[in-house]
């Protein structure tokens, strides 16, 4: 039995915005795989909820004529993984969200919830960062569009004001076309777990010249918010693809990430794993691009 005071069900974005404004003590619930856990733990006990589950506009994935991909915030992880647009254009995102919890969670949990929850361990986050995604937020007026990197404010905190709703995650065409991605989730077991450390690499390879043309590396759980390794990215861009590149990646990442020490895992341990998984993920993206054939 969950301790929920009131429950409001919105069927349109406008209605959801109105309900949130009318009832300032409410929280948004979609799949519920985060919210219900917090209610059960007592952290949100007695809360009131506005459900956005029945808002049809929030569901599904479309590719616009210009190639931009719009992912409805209410789209579940399973739907993302199995969506042909995702599979064809940005398989790394489908693979990343397929590592969330277990099948039941992936059937109910949504990408919007994953992002708005603000957890640094969210399995969608590093890839969405590495894809330079934009977030479309509606507020009943004109709304706004923000880059994902500006959205995370701190652990569990995102840039979402009362009455605002995340409606779409947008992956602009220029950010994924010609790129390959790989996500490595390092966790203590192979399912039903959250990341101890995670890394998503998206790269563009010039196979003719055998150089790494562009690369974006994002870590989950290496800092209070998902963390782009800009220094490493800058150092790697334009480098020749070789064993040296991977060694450089490993070293540079360990200089750049700043993971915490906790009972779950020591800082030193995370540093070791961080360098290793960034290297392995980069290597995989280069293999996917057909590079590194030696």
């Amino acid at each position: 039995m969950y301790d929920i005071e009131n429950y409001y069900n919105a069927s349109t974005i406008e209605e959801a915005v109105r309900l949130l404004k009318e009832h300032p003590d409410t929280r948004v619930i979609s799949g519920g795989s985060d919210v219900l856990i917090k209610i059960r733990e007592g952290k949100m006990a007695g809360t009131s909820l506005v459900s956005i589950r029945d808002i049809k506009e929030l569901n599904g994935i479309t590719k616009k004529e210009n190639g931009d991909i719009y992912i409805g915030a209410g789209t579940t992880f399973s739907h993302i993984t199995n969506d042909p647009v995702i599979q064809e254009n940005i398989p790394v995102l489908g693979e990343a969200v397929d590592q969330v919890g277990g099948p039941q969670i992936r059937n109910i949990g949504t990408i919007g919830g994953n992002i708005c929850n603000g957890a640094v361990s969210a399995d969608s986050a590093p890839t969405v960062f590495s894809l330079n995604a934009l977030l479309r937020i509606e507020d009943g007026n004109n709304g706004r569009t923000v880059p994902i990197r500006d959205f995370y404010l701190g652990p569990g905190r995102v840039d979402l004001k009362r009455g605002e709703i995340l409606t779409h995650v947008i992956i602009p065409a220029k950010e994924y076309q010609g790129y390959h991605g790989n996500y490595i989730k390092y966790s203590m077991r192979k399912a039903m777990d959250i990341a101890t450390l995670s890394c998503s690499v998206v790269s563009k390879v010039n196979t003719e010249k055998n150089i790494l043309e562009d690369v974006r590396i994002t870590f989950g759980v290496a800092a209070p918010v998902p963390f782009r390794c800009e220094k490493t990215e800058a150092a790697l861009k334009g480098q020749e693809i070789s064993e040296k590149l991977y060694e450089m990646t490993e070293q540079s990442i360990r200089q750049e990430i700043n993971p915490r020490d906790s009972w779950r895992a020591s800082r030193e341990f995370r540093m070791q794993i961080g360098g290793e998984i960034a290297k392995r993920a980069l290597k995989r993206t280069i293999e996917l691009a057909g590079g590194d054939r030696k």
């Binding site: 039995m1 969950y2 301790d3 007592g42 006990a45 007695g46 277990g102 390092y186 203590m188 077991r189 192979k190 399912a191 039903m192 777990d193 959250i194 101890t196 009972w263 779950r264 895992a265 020591s266 030193e268 341990f269 070791q272 794993i273 290793e276 998984i277």
Partner: protein, 758 residues
């Protein structure tokens, strides 16, 4: 019937959801109870204010430690002893104001519903005086002020020791002496169904329906805890969702029984959460070992010494029996003229440790089998060869506890099967000189395990058979089905001895202390052995009664021998009377009716040693700190198998536990408060299906003369040998000896770094 893989008798009920568990039986309009736990790890409650909670609408009753009986009671699922010296330690109150661990039970709320009960808990105001917290046994054993329990000044619950020969001389004569320290972690049973009960009153008596392995013991302990005659308590045990020893302890049943008396006998439900199950029920003891072994030039063990420090947690529960069981294992199986052991069980400010599958032997076997590999490495001997050289072949008996003995001993056959499956000789060589950061290795370990608790404790079981009008029988036993398949093998046993189809044996799965024959319950891998003996005896009695009655119906067959086979009475080779017709006569004959029943209460003064081994092949990715199990096999000598398919399932489940024990499971406690940091199924790394490799189970079937059907212990042993086998395989792969489990990634990375491998 015995020895066949018949389907479980409860399979369809469980798979279709028809089987009734405690929560399915809760009476309408039952009240809900919740427990208030302390937020300090050691100290006393200086004040408690329940007025706001009591004022909350929907709250029926709030009780605190001030309201409960002030005498202490014991909780472990041991048979009671009539000798005071052997009685379990009584050190617990139903609720307490003397906090001994983080989460201790201070008060309870009874409310109309769960949400109200939870809200009321938050309204209770508690103030404490705090004492320093000590979570390490080897520090706690030097005493604390005040001690955790007033009558144990040094916090040592118990100490025991033994010696055979002269260990010091043996070590002096040894050519090589190896000393090592090993440590096992606190783990939890993680049965699917959390502990749950509901209690109500009927005709002045208390009825408790509960998810337990030991209904008759729960009845006794409720009587003791409440200070009421035991006959005033009735305990009912329906289907349960696993126990693994956690429910071989009396948990919240006394509190629940007390609560119903406080609300006029209305039904009260008390279900603990998963988090409470981790913190407030029982765990497996963490034990620290210092071991020493000496061998001669040929690699024969000359002396071995064990010191064990077992962390009990806040309350005695099963107490020293766990560490003592490890001491017994230390003197079995290996031939060694000089052996010594000493064990301490020490109170600490941590969650209470109790019984868990294989009762102290997974801990001891981890230490012993790591040591055997470490000695072998030290003298450059193949570890399997080293064991073969030192293991006892054939019959042996314990030097102290008679009649514990290996009446059959299949360890050498087990080793042969395991080595062949894993390709021991080839792979030991193949993996000998590896370079690179990903390496493979193979390792093994073995164990011995007693069957039941005789002579350490009483073994008694009851069974009742009565024949129905159609010639089928009702079987009632006091022993409990807890998922292990007990109901199925008891049905097979009765069918075997009565020469009937198992479909004609109707087993009563629910134990109800008002009607069920007395049996102490499911633990110690005892039921198929001890209760099995009772079932066999009972079936033999009924068979005799059937044949005796048949004689009265068949005076003309006076000269021929009568027998029963699958529904027919035979005179010699001739089918002369159907069992159904006989049963009809027994029920309704106007001249000679007497329903055919048999009931036994059987004490079993036997014990026999089961054995087995595990072989594992691993791949270690040193830079990521991960271990992948490529192949793993357990081979068990558990006597004759009663149901091979169920035996396989037992082994699979146990191996899963063994792998989790070795690789990932550990309840982590906060140093300062003793609070569990990962007491939930997300942060406590129980293995999932994806983490579990293909599991191989094999058997060596020797007909043990002590077992009622040639069988001996199998329920618990499968959980024992996995962890040390994996550890030894990692040692083979990398040369790094990890002496503490679990071999979780961070421990591995630290070890490989220290060894300069990464």
């Amino acid at each position: 019937m015995v020895g066949k893989s018949i389907p479980r008798v409860d399979a369809y009920e469980k798979v279709t959801g028809r089987a009734k568990f405690t929560d399915d039986l809760i009476l309408n309009r039952a009240l809900v109870a919740k427990v208030l736990h302390s937020t300090i790890g050691n100290g006393i409650v200086t004040s408690i204010d329940t007025s706001e909670a009591e004022a909350l609408p929907g709250v029926v009753k709030v009780v605190t430690f001030k309201d409960v009986p002030d005498h202490c009671y014991p909780t472990p699922g041991h048979p009671w002893s009539v000798e005071p010296a052997h009685q379990d330690i009584a050190d617990r109150n139903i609720l307490t104001g003397r906090i001994r661990y983080y989460g201790d039970d201070i008060a309870a709320v009874v409310a109309e519903d769960e949400v109200t009960a939870s809200r009321a808990l938050k309204l209770i105001k508690v103030e404490y005086e705090e004492y320093p917290v000590e979570i390490h046994p080897r520090k706690s054993m030097y005493g604390s002020n005040p001690p955790i329990h007033f009558d144990k000044k040094d916090n040592v619950l118990a100490r025991s020791n033994f010696f055979i020969g002269n260990v010091d001389e043996g070590l002096e004569q040894s050519d090589t002496v190896v000393k090592r320290s090993y440590k096992t972690s606190i783990v939890q049973h993680c049965h699917i169904e959390n502990p749950i009960s509901f209690a109500y009153m009927e005709k002045g008596r208390i009825v408790v329906v509960t998810s337990t392995q030991i209904p008759h013991i729960v009845r006794r302990v409720i009587g003791q805890a409440l200070g009421i005659p035991w006959g005033r308590v009735r305990v009912i045990k329906p289907y349960i969702g696993g126990g693994f020893g956690n429910k071989q302890d009396v948990l919240y049943e006394p509190l629940n029984a007390f609560l119903t008396t406080q609300v006029g006998g209305r039904p009260v439900k008390l279900e603990v959460s998963r988090e409470e199950t981790f913190c407030n029920t029982r765990t497996r003891h963490s034990i620290e070992y210092d071991l020493t072994a000496g061998v001669d030039k040929e690699g024969h063990l000359l002396a071995k010494d064990m010191k064990a420090y077992s962390s009990q947690g806040a309350y005695a529960s099963h107490g020293h029996a766990i560490a003592a069981n490890g001491l017994t294992a230390w003197r079995l199986q290996y031939a060694c003229p000089n052996t010594r052991g000493e064990a301490y069980t020490i109170y600490t400010n941590t969650p209470t440790a109790g019984a868990m599958r294989a009762y102290g032997i997974p801990q001891a076997a981890f230490a012993i089998e790591c040591l055997m590999d470490d000695v072998a490495a030290e003298i450059h001997t193949d570890p399997l060869e080293f064991r073969r050289k030192n293991l006892i072949q054939g019959y042996y008996e314990d030097a102290y506890l008679k009649p514990i003995a290996a009446n059959t001993n299949g360890i050498f056959q087990c080793l042969e099967k395991g080595a062949e499956y894993i390709h021991w000789d080839e792979k030991r060589k193949e993996y000998a000189d590896q370079t690179g950061s990903v390496r493979r290795g193979i390792g093994m370990s073995l164990f011995s395990y007693k069957t039941g608790v005789w002579p350490i404790s009483l073994e008694i079981a009851g069974a009742r058979l009565s024949m129905n009008q159609d010639g089928s029988v009702q079987l009632q036993i006091g022993a409990t089905e807890i998922g292990q398949g007990a109901d199925t093998v008891f049905s097979q046993m009765a069918a075997e001895t009565l020469h009937m189809d198992v479909e004609n044996v109707h087993i009563v799965t629910v134990q109800d202390t008002d009607v069920t024959p007395f049996d102490t319950g499911a633990y110690a891998s005892r039921q198929s052995f001890v209760t099995g003996t009772a079932v066999k005896q009972c079936a033999e009695q009924l068979l005799q009664k059937i044949l005796d009655y048949a004689k009265t119906l068949l005076p003309e067959q006076e000269t021929r021998e009568l027998s029963l086979d699958h529904g027919w009475i035979y005179a010699g080779e001739e089918q002369v009377l159907s069992l159904e017709a006989l049963a009809q006569e027994a029920y309704y004959s106007l001249s000679n009716s007497s329903v055919l029943t048999a009931e036994v209460s059987t004490q079993v003064k036997k014990n026999t040693i089961a054995t087995g081994c595990c072989f594992a092949e691993v791949e270690v990715d040193m830079k990521l700190g991960t271990i992948q199990i490529l192949n793993i096999i357990n081979v068990h000598d558990s006597g004759k198998l009663l149901n091979p398919q169920l035996a396989q399932m037992q082994v699979h489940g146990g191996m899963s536990m063994g792998m989790g024990y070795g690789l990932s499971e550990q309840l982590v406690l906060d140093e300062k408060t003793g609070r569990p940091l990962n007491g939930n199924l997300l942060d406590y790394k129980l293995m999932t299906a994806l983490d579990t490799p293909d599991i191989k189970a094999d058997f060596v079937e020797l007909d043990d003369p002590m077992g009622p059907y040639g069988n001996k212990a199998l329920g618990e042993p499968p959980a024992i040998p996995g962890a040390p086998a994996i550890r030894n395989a990692v040692l083979h792969a990398t040369g790094v000896a990890f002496n503490e489990i679990p071999l979780a990634p961070q421990r591995l990375i630290e070890g490989f770094k220290k060894a300069g491998l990464i």
